[in-house]
Symmetry: C2
Amino acid sequence: MSKYLIYIVNKVFKALNDQTRREILNLLKEKDLTAGDIADAFQITKPSISHHLDILSQAELVTSQKQGQYVIYSLNTTVLDDLMKWIITLKD
Amino acid sequence: MSKYLIYIVNKVFKALNDQTRREILNLLKEKDLTAGDIADAFQITKPSISHHLDILSQAELVTSQKQGQYVIYSLNTTVLDDLMKWIITLKD
DNA sequence: CTATTATTTAGATATTTGTCTAAATACCTA
DNA sequence: TAGGTATTTAGACAAATATCTAAATAATAG
């Protein structure tokens, strides 16, 4: 288990250890969304959602690009491969 | 995504969101160990390890059986399948 | 330019979490 | 039964976290 993988996995587990953040990822699975669209899907405030999106970004579970005054978020599943690797290592 | 799976995945993510607990699982991958053996592998106190083991038990990531005055812990990888299912669902 | 909309940042607060020490429980052995 | 070992429980405390409101930043539209 490389130091790099341990570092990534730590961040990803942290990011995934929250129901709201997991639901955000599920929303983004369907299609890319603006920060506002994502916030509208939850009962919590926009700043809180912004914070969740930041944590997801740090874990590289989402990417974002600015389009005018909007910020569009997309799901990024590449780190999930690292996560799977970690889990499989535990299994065999 | 069933309510049951969401419930399980929530507990498992909680349990896995800690370096010490992840290391405990890695130790148990090699062989079953008593609570004391596990505690000896870390710098933190026995009560703290006991607490970590409790969280891992609640998530069903470990099982335990009493053998005399010892409690022997074993890795249980079955919930990891549920976790994998959740991840794969996100990926495709 | 000014007002409006979208998003993030800053700072405060309550809750959760990881850790500790001390005590309790359970089992074993002489 | 008494003393020792293994483990857990209870309670305290500091650090981390999720949330909020208010303010700042950035872009658009009139």
